[in-house]
Each structure stands twice: as structure tokens, then as C-alpha cells.
Amino acid sequence: MTYEFLVASAIGVLVAGGIFLALRARTFQVVLGLTLLSYAVNLFLFASGRLVLNRPPIWDKAVAEYTDPLPQALALTAIVITFGMTAFVVILALRSFLESGSDHVDGDTVTGDAQDGLASDDTHGEHP
């Protein structure tokens, strides 16, 4: 019970943090949010084969019970894909920032409030 609770609440916290960050305006925070979301998804996929302790993931005549190996393969595939995608989206966000001079996801230029200190970066970005 406690183990399940731990995993479930960890996934919940990761998803909550991921959604919060993914809804932010700046690309860096959004990328972090997507990363958190993908961590949550990987954990979730891992748990979809049920949480089993101290069992081998391969079938053997000697052991009566084993853990489901398929979710581990799925999680591995998902990790590889999200790793590549995260690398891509980081580069894309960087290029977008350098070319348009704004790191806002909606692409609009920074206006006034709460952007102190970062506005200089934006103007700098126009002359890469």
C-alpha cells in the first residue's frame, strides 16, 4: 500500500508540476514542463505492469512469479523518443529565440511587466 501510494503520488506531483510549467509563457519553462511530464509518463508506463517487488523480468522454470517485462520495454522506447524530442525542442527554442528575439511561446515580443532583466537579453538576441 505505501509503495503504491509513493509511486502514485510521485507521478501526480510530476504531472502537476509538468502541467504548471508547460502552461508558462517562456520556452525554457515549457521545455522543463514537458520533461517533467515525460518523466511522469515513463513512471506511469512502468507501473502499468503492476508494481512487483524482487521478481525477475524474465520467465524461468525455477521462479514461480515474475514481473511483466513489456512495460519496461515500452518505457525504454518512450525514454529514447522523449530524449530525442527534448534535445530537438531545446535547439528549436534556442533558434527561435535567436531569430525572433523573443523566447515567448506565442512569439510576441516582451511587453513591460515582470520582464525586468530579461529585456536586455531579448534585444541582444536580435544580433546573433
Binding site: A22, T27, V30, L34, L37, S38, A40, V41, F44, L45, A47, S48, G49, R50, L70, P71, L74, T77, A78, I81, T82, G84, M85, F88, V89, L92, A93, R95, S96, E99, S100, V105, D106, G107
Partner: protein, 506 residues
């Protein structure tokens, strides 16, 4: 084993081989890379047509990858619907590739052809696969390639839209994986046919989770299909993409529709207990709203390419109004309209490019500009594409919409469906007429066109697309018979279960 036995894997294998070859030779010999890409598309079309002739009598080909038996290994399933989509994808790819090569749009970056082939590999794989996780993988392949293609040519506008497009699709992929995890945890299988049999035997306490999984999965497909309210990513992305790429992207939203048609009857059909047809009540209103938004967008769009992008949303909405009936007649009409609307949207994107290439700085904006070369020929093409897109006779859009209107009368809410389809058609007609008269009849400033005198070679690809639409309306009898047969096959999950799993299903 002869080559014919391996036919179902060819549409995936051909582009998978062509892409790295094109990548290898592109740096040294550009023309060779272009030829590899063209030959690959032609071979893909040939294999798709061969596959279509094999399955047109109702057989379902199940291809076990690596010869692993069905519920454990990954299967490719080729039936009428899959073969139809393969032929459509290959045809569209050839048109888009031809346009890209003729207009030299493929020379704006190094990796156009390899990315184009990977995109086709993802599309074909998504149409063929019978495994839900494999569907996710092919979705990722086509998305990753589409990110590259969408950014082809670069520039700030594309990069801005690209960030949004990538982020939205990454969130969509996460949702897809969550739905997959839920379904695997519940049924212990990822094979669609096997899953369809197992959901029927689920315990009552698991039905709630199954409903959640069904709705999550359907929302992901709706996101890919750009159904309202998940359509916001589409317009900016498609309108700024290279036109040849946007023409190919016309089939990307149809991948979402195809996945809906494939997965919902198979897994969440009549046998699914409390989760049977869970997405159905939400689909019709969403489809009506997207048809409304799409054609309202056509009405207010500021440029031709934006208009074409809104048309993609609107036609997907119209299409899903018919799909949401989940009956053979409505689905058959929907499949006919699917083929039509994909080619019509592509034709419109290409015509928009032809206009933009001739008007220089005025591009394809809906503002009167100076006179330009081939004004009457291009205007005629635009008129034909607009007729096809809105669904006026004599082109196939009219037949498609007529079939949809006729088939939905069997549904309880058909009055709403009729109202939405007819009113949105009117909006579409007015919108296209407004932009068309501004572009081709009004002359803002006197003086020559600023664009360099273009050759007429770039008229070829849109002309082929329009000719295909004419052929689709001329051969409507055959096409609708095939579409109805494909619909009947898609709505009977027992057929594919028997083909995939053998006697186990009995």
C-alpha cells in the same frame, strides 16, 4: 516466401531505405537524391496499388513482423481502408514532391528529401499497423519528420509556429502514452484486435478506467485531426509551411481521423461493455463546431494559404460529422469525402503557392495587387479548387457532401448535421468568392508584377491534383462502392480479429 507475401511491409520499407540513401548522396549529387526520392514515391504508389488490388475482394492481410505470432509480436494489417489510405498518401506525396522539385522549394535546405521520405514512412506505418504501441511509434516518426519539414526554409515566422507545433504535439504524445499505459494495465495486450476481444471480458470495477483510457486516446486522435477545441495549432503551422509541405500535411490531420475509425469500432465498439462507444456523444458536437470554425476561418482569412489551412479544419469537421454516425453508410460517405478533401486541400495550398510566386511582395494575401503572369489560367485553377473545396458541382466535393447529407438522415440528430453542413458550405463559397475576386479581378496599383517571369511548369502539380478530383467525381460510382465496402469492413472488428489472431478468436 515470395515478394508478394511481403507486400504489406513494402510501403514502410521503401521510404525507410530511400531516406538514408537520399541523405548519403544529397551532398555530392543533388539530382541523384531527387531521383531517389521520386522513384521511392513511385514505387510506394505501385506497392500501394498492388496491395489495394489484393485486398479489394475483402481479404485482410496480416503480416507478422519477424514471424512472431500475433498477440505477442507486432502485426501489420492491410485491409481495404488501410490500402485506400496508402494509395492516397502515395498519390499526394508524388504531387507534393513534384511541386517541390519544380518550384525548387526543396533546395532551400539540405534535408528536404530524406525528411520527406521519413514522413511517408511514418504515415504508411500508421496506416498499416495493428499494434497500438507501434501506432504511437509511427506517429512519432511522422511527427519528427514533420517538424523538420515544417521548418524547411526557416525564417522567424516558421520558427515561432514551429515551437508551438512541437510543444502541442509533445503534450499529445504524453497523453497517448498515458492512454496506452492504462489500456495495457487493463487488458495486458497492445494488439488492437486482441484488445478488442479482451475489453469485453473486463471486470465491472475496471470499466471506469477503461472509459478514461478511451476518452484520453480519442482526445489524442482529435488533437492530431485538429478537431475543435484542439484545432488552434493548425492554422499558423500550415499557413507558414512551405506550400509543397503543407500540401502533404493535408493528409496529416486525416491520420487522426483514420486512427479514430480504426480504434474506436475495434476496441471501444459494441463489445466493450460500459465503455462501448464512449467517445461517440462528444464527437458529433465537436465535429460541428470544427466545421463551423473552419469555414468561418475561410470566410475571414487574410491570405490564400491561411484559407487553405482553415479549409483543412472545416473539411475534417464535415468529415467527422459523418464519421460520428458509426454506420456503414455514413462511414462510407465519410471515406469518400476524406479522399476528396485531402486532395482538395492540397490543391488549394499549391494554387496559393502558384499565386504567391507570381505576385512578388503581395504574396498570396487577399489584397488587390498589380497584374501578374497567367492571371486567367491561375484564376481558373483557383476557381476549380474552390469549387472542389466548398462542394459545388461538378467536382467530387459535391458528390461527397451529397453522400454525407443523404447518409446522416438515418441518424437522430440529422437536422443539426444538415444545418451545419449547408450553412458552412455557404460561408465557404462566400469566403472563396471574396478572396478570388480580390486576387484575380481587382487591380490595386498599376504597373508590372514585381515577381520574375515564372515558367508555367509550376502549374503542373496543382493541375494534376485538380485532374484527380475530376477523376474522383467521374469514377464516383466505383470509389463510393469501395469506400462503403471499406467502411463495412472497418465496422466489423470480428473480421480483422479473425485475420490477425486466427482461430484463437473463435
Amino acid at each position: 516466401m515470395t515478394l508478394a507475401d511481403h507486400l504489406p511491409i513494402l510501403p514502410v520499407a521503401i521510404p525507410a531505405l530511400a531516406a538514408p540513401f537520399a541523405l548519403l548522396v544529397m551532398r555530392r549529387r543533388r539530382s541523384l537524391g531527387i531521383n531517389i526520392s521520386l522513384v521511392s514515391c513511385i514505387a510506394m504508389l505501385a506497392s500501394a496499388i498492388a496491395l489495394m488490388t489484393q485486398v479489394s475482394d475483402g481479404t485482410i492481410l496480416a503480416y507478422e513482423l519477424g514471424n512472431w505470432p500475433a498477440p505477442f509480436g507486432i502485426v501489420l494489417v492491410a485491409d481495404r481502408l488501410a490500402a485506400m489510405m496508402l494509395v492516397l498518401a502515395a498519390t499526394l506525396a508524388l504531387i507534393a514532391l513534384l511541386h517541390a522539385v519544380v518550384t525548387r522549394a526543396d533546395r532551400k535546405g539540405w534535408h528536404f528529401h530524406p525528411l520527406f521520405q521519413f514522413q511517408l514512412m511514418g504515415l504508411n506505418g500508421a496506416f498499416l499497423t495493428g499494434d497500438l504501441f507501434n501506432l504511437f511509434v509511427f506517429f512519432e516518426v511522422l511527427l519528427i519528420a514533420s517538424y523538420g519539414l515544417m521548418l524547411h526554409g526557416q525564417g522567424p515566422a516558421r520558427l515561432k509556429a514551429g515551437v508551438q507545433y512541437v510543444v502541442v504535439n509533445l503534450v499529445g504524445s504524453s497523453l497517448f502514452l498515458i492512454a496506452l499505459g492504462l489500456l495495457y494495465a487493463l487488458t495486458g495486450t497492445l494488439n488492437m484486435a486482441d484488445m478488442g476481444l479482451r475489453v469485453a471480458a473486463l471486470a465491472p470495477e475496471d470499466q471506469g478506467l477503461l472509459r478514461i483510457a478511451a476518452l484520453l486516446l480519442v482526445s489524442v486522435f482529435a488533437l492530431k485531426a485538429a478537431v475543435a477545441p484542439l484545432h488552434l495549432w493548425l492554422v499558423r503551422t500550415y499557413a507558414v509551411s512551405t506550400p509543397a509541405v503543407a500540401a502533404l500535411f493535408a493528409i496529416m490531420t486525416k491520420v487522426g481521423v483514420y486512427s479514430l475509425i480504426r480504434v474506436v469500432p475495434q476496441v471501444f465498439g459494441d463489445g466493450a461493455g460500459a465503455a462501448a462507444w464512449v467517445p461517440a456523444p462528444y464527437l458529433l458536437p465537436a465535429a460541428m463546431v470544427s466545421a463551423g470554425i473552419g469555414f468561418a476561418g475561410v470566410f475571414v482569412a487574410r491570405s490564400l494559404s491561411e484559407q487553405a489551412a482553415y479549409l483543412v479544419i472545416g473539411s475534417t469537421g464535415t468529415l467527422l460529422i459523418a464519421v460520428a454516425g458509426w454506420q456503414t453508410a455514413t462511414l462510407g460517405a465519410a471515406l469518400y469525402y476524406l479522399v476528396h478533401s485531402t486532395i482538395a486541400a492540397a490543391a488549394l495550398f499549391l494554387v496559393a503557392d502558384v499565386v504567391a510566386r507570381r505576385r512578388g511582395g503581395f504574396a498570396d494575401n487577399a489584397s488587390p495587387g498589380p497584374d501578374f503572369a497567367d492571371r486567367s489560367a491561375v484564376g481558373l485553377m483557383f476557381m476549380l479548387a474552390a469549387i472542389a473545396a466548398t462542394g459545388l458541382p461538378p467536382l467530387s466535393g459535391f458528390i461527397g457532401k451529397l453522400m454525407i447529407l443523404k447518409s446522416v438522415t438515418a441518424l437522430p440528430d440529422w437536422g443539426w448535421a444538415w444545418g451545419v453542413i449547408l450553412v458552412t458550405t455557404l460561408f465557404g463559397i462566400i469566403g472563396f468568392a471574396r478572396v478570388g475576386s480580390t486576387l484575380f479581378w481587382k487591380q490595386g496599383q498599376s504597373g508590372e508584377a514585381t515577381a520574375p517571369a515564372a515558367t508555367r511548369a509550376d502549374l503542373v502539380a496543382p493541375a494534376i491534383a485538380l485532374a484527380l478530383l475530376a477523376a474522383l467525381s467521374a469514377g464516383a460510382g466505383w470509389a463510393s462502392t469501395y469506400a462503403n465496402a471499406a467502411a463495412a469492413q472497418a465496422l466489423d472488428p470480428a473480421l480483422s480479429a479473425r485475420a490477425v489472431l486466427g482461430e484463437v478468436a473463435q
